[in-house]
Assembly symmetry: D2
Homo-oligomer: 288 residues x 4
């Protein structure tokens, strides 16, 4: 655990609010900028960027850092913050960010900004997969008019999210089929007690109540959508642009939901906690 440090938390949503509360509870000092000021974070809140940054040991930027590539992701902020300007203020700071691609090119010359991407960390991705899986269960419970128990579920992809999600569904009593390609994945799927099919060679009928896609390729193209029943619900958990031809799905009467950012939407306390713990790990490794 990290203690007695100063953190500046800039931008973001509810996750950053819970993140800041959690960091503060560990006897750190926290300043929040460009987020919502509430009764409970009043004393940690500042309306000047400088106050959040100047004395901080670490600065934390949100996940994702930006949606448009130019301004900080800060939905609760009254004013827009240009990434270009922000980077000019962060001279010499250690800055944790969620995704690094938009920021790296903006590091000013002759500065010593240490950009560190918590989103790229394996443990972040694993714990986030758990929160994503619970969000997917939430959607499934709301969308499907039967019970998960004894339903027929297909999970496409056996990465982190696929692993967690298939376990929850099976524990809830669903008939779980997982689609994968590698013999080693297929062996694990067997060990865990799921049925398996090959993603490269889907069977003629995809007769499932619920399909959860986790693969960021257009798996549910014309060929595979035509194999589904119109009663199938597809919950696509893969990042934009997703793995479903949504227009065709709608035309066919198949409900397909592109479910993005579930940890932030359904589990912001946990999402904040995961960011905190990943950053703590990164700081501790630095020290060794």
């Amino acid at each position: 655990m990290i203690k007695y440090k100063n953190f500046g938390i800039v931008g973001g949503d509810m996750r950053q609010i819970f993140l800041s509360e959690s960091i503060a509870k560990d006897e750190n000092s926290v300043k929040i900028f460009a987020n919502s000021s509430t009764a409970s974070n009043q004393e940690n809140f500042t309306d000047k960027l400088e106050n959040a940054i100047k004395t901080s040991d670490y600065v934390i930027l949100p996940l994702p850092v930006t949606y448009d590539g130019e301004t900080l992701n800060a939905p609760f902020s009254k004013s827009q913050i240009k990434l270009y300007d922000l980077m000019r203020e962060l001279t010499d700071k250690t800055v944790f960010c969620g995704g690094i691609n938009s920021l790296s090119p903006l590091i000013p010359e002759n500065t010593n900004i240490k950009l560190k991407d918590y989103y790229a960390r394996e443990e972040f991705q694993i714990l986030n997969a758990l929160a994503t899986a619970e969000g997917a269960i939430n959607i499934a419970l709301s969308e499907f008019l039967g019970t998960i128990h004894s339903s027929r579920c297909l999970i496409v992809g056996y990465g982190r999210i696929g692993k967690v999600l298939s376990k929850i569904l099976k524990d809830m009593g669903a008939n779980v089929t997982v689609s994968a390609r590698k013999p080693s994945d297929l062996a694990w799927i067997e060990v865990m007690g799921y049925e398996s099919i090959n993603t490269n060679n889907m069977p003629q009928k995809l007769d499932y109540d619920l399909i959860f896609n986790t693969v960021p390729f257009k798996i549910f193209n014309r060929e595979n959508l035509l194999k589904c029943s119109y009663e199938t619900k597809i919950i696509d958990l893969s990042s934009k642009p997703g793995g479903v031809d949504f227009e065709l799905a709608e035309f066919l009467g198949i409900k397909a939901i592109h479910a993005l950012g579930l940890p932030g939407k359904f589990s912001p306390i946990k999402a904040g906690d995961i960011i905190k713990r990943t950053i703590y790990n990164m700081i501790e490794e630095e020290r060794l």
Copy 2:
């Protein structure tokens, strides 16, 4: 499975629509009255009670049969149906109903109505408990801003719903405590790997993220509500009037939700299936 019979289905909601579809698929004839007529049930729908009843071998009434004690539970019906009048039409019929107390006194003299309560059947209650538990998970996932995984959950009561719900929560990774009283229940709770507390003698602190009450007594009175944290969410699954002093809870800032009729709300397909299978069991036992 029951086949080649005529069923009249009177009143009810989406469950009865799915129930009627499911019965029809088993090669029975079905007539629906006092429910919604949709594209898919058009041919089985009738707007005359007589058509639904006259040639039917079995009549199915909804669950619950009535909310007010006087009229049939038929939210999609255009007109009200008096129980008193209805009973006069059911002469000589075998009638399955969900709850029998309001109907029994209304059986007319000199008739031979055989009233049979599917709600009172043990297997109905067990399967319904499963659907209720999934509904409770749905609410918990929506209300709690963390993840079920690693949350602290208390289930009060170890009857059917308590048994199913605690298993799902533990399988999802929650820290599960169950409150019960009988030594035999406490032994089962231990075998299943949950912590236990005694309902008669709750500890001084009820420091849980989520509390699920299944006991139809006012467990969460002043004494026990004061033991909860204001961050606790209470999901009360017990039948009316419930086990929580809701006014006091609100005053204390504790969110308490009285969650009733979950199978019908979240899992009408399954709820209809459970009614069907229970009625089939009852018919088959009759035959033996």
Copy 3:
């Protein structure tokens, strides 16, 4: 927990040794008679019955109290102890025993012996079922040359042992079928995700790798044994005389094992612990 009491423990096997150690750890005084004296129990061991009984608040007799109906079950004792004689020494004592039928008729007149049967307690039976189920898994792992995972298992009977055993087998990845009769049992079997068959009406083929019988009736008579494959292993957990025609099974080349007293054989520490806790419960209830 019970403290500061004197216990006399008479007869029994390793379970009683572990039982006495566990009771002593709770700050009670213990005297052991008619069991094995070892290095570790030397100071609590006595070779005179009188020493074990005279100052004791509670006397504990083994499970079962007797095998032959006349002498105490005391395999490690050098001399035989007649139940008739023993009862004459227990005047005015509270005596806990495992099974009461052989002792009740022997209570002498004009005494005040309070005989209490821990074996008849529901919580004892439940916790003991757990130890029995683990013993059954041990035997299955040793007998079956495949893995439990993906094996085909039949559990006959859905009482306490059936409930625990089927859960362990399913969690280990077996394909689990449970045989029962009551609609409510069949509903629970479905909720738990097992296949079910009807004990009264077994299918034509009992094509299982492992069959666990828990029902104390001759289920595996000629008719049902002929349905088994000669590769099936039958593990009969029901009390004497068991539920299998063992002679016929042997003739047919089907390996059938009558597995009795598993908690004492495989888990004597736990078996002792279960006796202790049940007796503590009984003492505490007495006090209320």
Copy 4:
């Protein structure tokens, strides 16, 4: 599945007998040499190496191929088979073997032997880990005098065996701690609901009923053995020379068991099945 091929199976133990039966059932032709001839494999058995090899499309050697580096692992064979000689007979053949290091240097010049190592395949290792884990459970159930349920278990290492074993133990109700080092492993351990400790920095007390080691380094050296209770049972599943200072353990009164080759010992049917399926995969990939 592979069909209509000729397989020569040379050397090995019960696993190879079951392997040959299983291959034959798939409508392949099988010849067994240098193993036990039994009533059931009489017609496939040959006592001349040439018969097993000459017409075969594929030759299968055992796992491990050799224990001494010179002769084939063939415990049921009447005569010893020198690897050097064997390799001279296998000209032009596709040969599947369990471990390749002893054989590669022996490939004669001017031949076209295609040596393929099924033991090196990821899916083989995963499925074998499952059989190993069940063997470990078998040993634990026999060695530990309590129940797995509510026992305190430590699994050292979170590779394939660690993953399967910890899941079975937890499902059986044990209190499971896993020792690992990588943040990503620690994250998975948390997701699966186990406690974690750091292998590099074990706590001062290793107060467990059962310790399962899967790491092939001397983890249980003087320092760590002294942290164990003398009641701890250590089951070492790591390959020779194992991860325990066995002499010191014995001196300290700690029972440590080096459990090797569990799939072959306890689950030869499954072990044979895993070899078959891995080889089938390898043949099918070749064809693509």
